[in-house]
């Protein structure tokens, strides 16, 4: 009858013990830490891919520069990219803010421009920057 005894014991035991509380608190803490440190947000991007008129161009995010395409002015500054001005009427792209992490993107539908951050450089290395 040990099985029956165990079943009864389980049924009568407290549904919630201190150890469960500790684990739950721990999980909440870990979740908060993950959320605020941005670990789950994706890696920092390396390349900005600008697609317009059926053509994609690649820019390194660690080089500050300004790119203008189809009346959309894109600024890369301090590893972040954003649309600083646009000829489109709604300016949704301008209000989108800055992107810097893998797979983040800003779309300007009226001007047909998509900018997207990629976590991988298109190439392992570049040639021709001799100084």
């Amino acid at each position: 009858m040990t099985d029956e005894k165990r079943v009864r014991q389980l049924k009568n035991s407290a549904p919630f013990r201190i150890i469960d509380g500790i684990v739950i608190v721990l999980l909440v803490v870990v979740a908060l830490v993950l959320a605020f440190t941005g670990v789950l947000k994706g890696d920092e991007g390396k390349t900005l891919i600008v697609t317009a008129n059926g053509k994609s161009s690649y820019y390194e995010l660690d080089k500050d520069q300004t790119i203008t395409v189809n009346g959309v002015k894109i600024v890369i500054n301090d590893g972040q990219a954003y649309v600083s001005s646009s000829k489109c009427p709604d300016k949704i792209c301008v209000s989108h803010g800055k992107i810097s992490r893998d797979n983040e993107s800003v779309v300007c539908l009226p001007q047909g421009v998509v900018i997207k951050v990629s976590g991988k450089s298109e190439f392992d290395v570049s040639t021709g920057q001799e100084k």
Partner: protein, 380 residues
């Protein structure tokens, strides 16, 4: 086993942590500014004791500067430059080797590549000092040299005045003209990259990239991630404009080879010929005409920009030293003679000209993702 919930939660959490951690840490990287000229050496290597290997590489570069720097007092090169004609200067084996290679490449490129060209570079304000002042310092350059000034320099840049002898295990350089000076700046990066690659492979490196300011050696293939694939190389856009601001003009995949690019778009300054017309004076000098590439002289002695010269030459091949010299030589020789030089010697390359033509020499595997070379340039 009474409380499996906590256990399961912990396991889930742990496995999540492992799933998040990346596994791309297998390359050891090192970066350092080397030589007095501020070149950047960087390497990512995998195989053997990478840290020790990187230390050996840095030691080699320190030692190289002590022997080869032409602008530093009492290096072997500056001793040779100050020597009189007929005076034998004893040098070490590596300098002897570099001088011999330079002379061979001078003969092979019919004077297009010349390590004695510095006096002419000075006259055009494109030696190290001039570039720092007029290209990076923003100072107004002096008037361009006259034909007479250049002609007077022709004797001092004739490399046939360099004589090499070795006897009893010792090496000597001698000049037959007082004013002959050597500056290995146009070939030193290539030589160093070859030596660094030798150090790397001798110490067990199986895969990696060695770079001295864009002068590359690709060792093996890229082994990061799950697959082994050729290294991807982006070729910088030689003409970044408002309408074509692209970073790269083309890209390609390669393994076990050196890659070197020369062009007119770095280390150059604009010179106002008239109030509204400027020409680009770049650091690559044609050893035969003593003119910077892309600059032509009219019958009346004025200078204009030529239209069809090479603005970017990427050379791919076994020896980085040869790639370095050929990249310069292709810029000087032009697209046709340059391509012939590469083909005749088993080297590959990608050449762009000012009149918007491109040529891929050899079987280089081009990247599909970058199309600027096809859309903005016409195949030659």
């Amino acid at each position: 086993m009474k409380r499996p919930i906590s256990l399961i939660l912990c396991i889930v959490l742990l496995s999540l942590c492992f799933a998040c951690s990346s596994n791309e840490e297998q390359y050891y990287t090192v970066e350092s500014t080397v030589f007095s000229s501020g070149l950047v050496f960087s390497a990512q290597i995998s195989g053997g004791n990478e840290e020790k290997t990187a230390e050996k590489m840095l030691d080699f570069l320190d030692n190289f500067d002590e022997v080869f720097n032409a602008n530093k007092a009492n290096t072997a090169v500056s001793r040779f430059n100050e020597a009189k004609a007929g005076e034998e200067v004893e040098v070490d084996e590596s300098l002897y080797y570099l001088a011999r290679q330079s002379k061979l490449l001078y003969e092979q490129t019919l004077g297009a590549f010349n390590v004695a060209i510095t006096p002419v570079s000075k006259a055009w304000g494109v030696d190290v000092d001039g570039i720092n002042k007029y290209a990076y310092g923003g100072q107004t350059p002096p008037p361009l040299p006259s034909r007479e000034t250049l002609d007077a320099l022709s004797l001092s840049v004739d490399l046939s005045a360099l004589q090499l002898t070795s006897r009893d295990g010792k090496y000597y350089l001698k000049k037959t003209v007082d004013s002959l000076t050597l500056d290995f700046g146009g070939i030193a990066k290539g030589y160093c990259v070859d030596e660094l690659k030798r150090i790397a492979t001798e110490n067990g490196v199986k895969s990696g990239i060695i770079s001295i300011s864009g002068n590359l050696y690709l060792i093996g293939k890229n082994e990061s991630g799950d697959t082994s694939k050729k290294w991807g190389v982006g070729v910088n856009n030689p003409r970044r404009t408002a309408t074509e601001p692209d970073q790269y003009v083309c890209g390609f995949y390669e393994s076990d080879a050196s890659v070197v690019t020369s062009g007119d778009y770095e280390r150059c300054y604009d010179y106002l010929v008239t109030a509204d017309q400027k020409i680009k004076i770049c650091h690559i000098i044609d050893g035969r005409t003593l003119m910077p590439i892309g600059v032509k002289r009219n019958a009346d002695g004025t200078y204009v920009q030529s239209s069809d010269y090479v603005i970017s030459a990427t050379v791919i091949g076994e020896s980085s030293l040869v790639c370095d010299a050929y990249a310069t030589a292709v810029c000087v020789l032009g697209i046709d003679a340059g391509a012939k030089l590469l083909r005749d010697n088993g080297y590959e390359g990608i050449i762009f000209t000012a009149d918007k033509k491109y040529l891929v020499v050899g079987e280089t595997e081009m990247a599909d993702s970058i199309t600027l070379y096809k859309t903005a340039y016409a195949q030659k």
